[in-house]
């Protein structure tokens, strides 16, 4: 589902070249739940950005659902993000002026514009909120009227809106207390069991343990991998 081949990402800082990622090779199969762990500055966010088609590698090849993304232009990358990937952020990143339901509708609007009826769009968004286990009575609440856990559920519902095969979560529990965080991770696990490929970036081992596999990053390189569970 996701394949990184000899991926290197460098930044220039003045005369100095900084390696954010060094020769990364990673293969994530369909339906897998992979946690990426590492201290800050280890390159894990850069890696997530590259997988999420927000960033391009300096060298190497990236395949998402068998599509080589290196050659795509901005519109092409936007389409991949829209159709193949659902993003979940640490700070939820909901649009504050939109209700929970409207936040979930947003990716549908970007994809279908006016070709999807308002009614159908609402139905789809409500279904996603249900999948993210948010009670329907919160659908018309604005983000600031919701708790952190509820907001993250809305964000997850938004990530599910266009039914992408991949969910990328960047420290999804980072802004939540441990109990709520655990519930969110259980939700991601459930979605994974329903067939989504999930990649979580975290520095919390308790979060990472939800994965089938943990990839440890250090100084831009894969230090080691650890298989978990009975798979």
């Amino acid at each position: 589902m996701i394949k990184l081949k000899n991926v290197t990402k460098t930044y220039k800082m003045g005369e100095e070249i900084i390696y954010a990622l060094k020769n990364i090779n990673l293969n994530i199969k369909e339906g897998e739940f992979v946690s990426i762990m590492g201290p800050s500055g280890s390159g894990k966010s850069t890696m997530l950005n590259i997988i999420g088609c927000l960033d391009k590698p300096t060298e190497g090849e990236v395949y998402i659902d068998n599509i080589k993304t290196n050659d795509l232009d901005d519109d092409g990358l936007t389409k991949i993000r829209r159709d193949k990937i659902g993003f979940v952020f640490q700070q939820f990143n909901l649009i504050p002026i939109l209700t929970a339901l409207e936040n979930v509708e947003l990716p549908l609007i970007f994809k279908y514009r006016n070709s999807m009826s308002e009614e159908e769009r609402r139905k789809r968004a409500l279904k996603c909120l249900k999948m993210a286990e948010l009670e329907e009575k919160f659908a018309n609440h604005k983000p600031n009227q919701l708790s952190g856990g509820q907001q993250q559920r809305v964000a997850i519902a938004r990530a599910l809106a266009n039914n992408p095969p991949i969910i990328l979560a960047d420290e999804p529990t980072g802004a939540l207390d441990s109990k709520t965080g655990e519930k969110i991770m259980q939700l991601l696990k459930k979605l994974n069991e329903e067939g989504k490929t999930v990649v979580v970036v975290t520095h919390d081992i308790n979060v990472a343990r939800f994965g089938d596999r943990i990839v440890y990053l250090k100084d831009g390189e894969i230090e080691r991998e650890e298989k978990l569970g009975g798979d």
């Binding site: 993000r81 993003f87 990143n93």
Partner: protein, 365 residues
């Protein structure tokens, strides 16, 4: 939904949106009301001079020895698609009763029914006369005063604006009265009243063909060309005034651009989020243009209606004419430029927003 999103974004910083709106309102109101002022000027002049543009005047050609027209000439012109108004004319002394004053005046005789075509807004009977404003002012004469011509008394029953047709210091009697006084059977000129201004040239040519068949018997003058020249000048003045109004709209545009740029900076992170969940660059541009469009439409509509109010004040109290259809044209022009300015000034901020690097935008707090 784009519209809804744009609307809510504008509400988010209501005061700022209102200030931007105010700029557009003032700009559009300035353009439209100055336009209306120009239109009012034009209409004022048309009201004074426009009445002569439907007329063709036919004079006898004195150089070839012709000094008048007879009944036959008039009858020949009756085939034309216009009203043929034969005019008697002479000069004589008029005695003003009660003032003990004798004035030498141009005296015209016109058929009672024909007077209606001349747009003089006066009524005369066989025992009354109409005088022009110059004559009335110079001799302090009002409706109801008595004049004496050839020992016969006439009541002044109307006062008309002097024009090219009937110059300053003139007096009009009915044709019947004129003949009783002067016994004349020949006409000194013929006026043709053409209802549709577009036919003026055609009728002028046909008149030429009918009367000047053998030799140049008469001189034919159409007055619309003079009017067109005056109109041209006023139109230019109008555009100049609107140009001044456009400066305030330009300032409004800069205001909107400024507000939008601030908005882009403040919403950088949101833009990043939208990009990451599937918004293309185009979507971001559309979103910002919608905001500008809403500001433009609301501001322009309010501005245009304000201009109607200002326009009414200017036209009514300054020019002393009335508003008419042209006001709507200038309102539409104002609205068009108001919306256009808003959109143009949002182009750069929208472009800038779309160009944001999603990663950097997401990292922005």
């Amino acid at each position: 939904m784009y519209f809804e999103l744009a609307k809510r974004n504008l509400k988010r910083n209501l005061l700022r949106s209102i200030l931007a709106l105010l700029g557009i309102i003032i700009g559009v109101a300035a353009i439209s009301s100055l336009g209306i002022l120009g239109g009012g000027l034009k209409q004022g002049i048309m009201e004074n001079l426009g009445s002569i543009s439907n007329y063709i005047i036919v004079f006898p050609n004195y150089q070839n020895g012709y000094t008048s027209f007879d009944k036959k000439d008039v009858e020949k012109l009756r085939v034309l698609n216009c009203e043929v108004i034969p005019i008697y004319a002479t000069s004589d002394f008029v005695y003003i009763k009660g003032k003990n004053r004798r004035i030498y005046t141009n005296i015209f005789g016109i058929d009672k029914d024909d007077i209606n075509y001349l747009n003089l807004k006066v009524k005369i009977s066989d025992t009354s006369a109409a005088v022009d404003t110059f004559f009335s002012k110079a001799n302090e004469i009002n409706i109801g005063n008595q004049l004496v011509i050839k020992n016969i008394s006439f009541r002044v029953s109307g006062i008309y604006n002097s024009t090219y047709l009937f110059p300053d210091n003139s007096l009009i009697l009915t044709a019947k009265t004129y003949k009783r006084l002067y016994g004349e059977k020949k006409y000194s000129r013929i006026i043709l009243y053409v209802r549709d201004i577009n036919n003026i040239d055609k009728i002028k040519k046909e008149t030429e063909r009918i009367l000047n068949k053998k030799e140049k018997k008469c001189i034919i003058i159409a007055l619309n060309s003079i009017l067109e020249a005056i109109n041209g000048v006023i139109t230019k003045v109008s555009y100049f005034l609107m140009g001044i109004g456009a400066i305030s709209l330009l300032v409004a545009g800069i205001g909107i651009g400024n507000v939008m740029l601030m908005s882009v900076v403040e919403r950088t992170k949101e833009i990043g989020v939208m990009r990451s969940i599937g918004a293309s660059k185009k979507d971001i541009i559309i979103l910002f243009l919608y905001e500008a469009l809403i500001l433009g439409i609301i501001g322009s509509l309010i501005g245009a209606f304000l201009s109607l109010f200002f326009g009414y004040l200017i036209v009514h109290y300054l020019l002393k004419t009335s508003l008419s259809y042209y006001a709507i044209i200038y309102m539409l022009i104002g609205i068009f430029f108001g919306i256009l300015t808003s959109l143009i000034s949002a182009l750069y901020p929208a472009y800038k927003a779309s160009k944001l690097d999603p990663i950097k935008a997401l990292r922005n707090e």
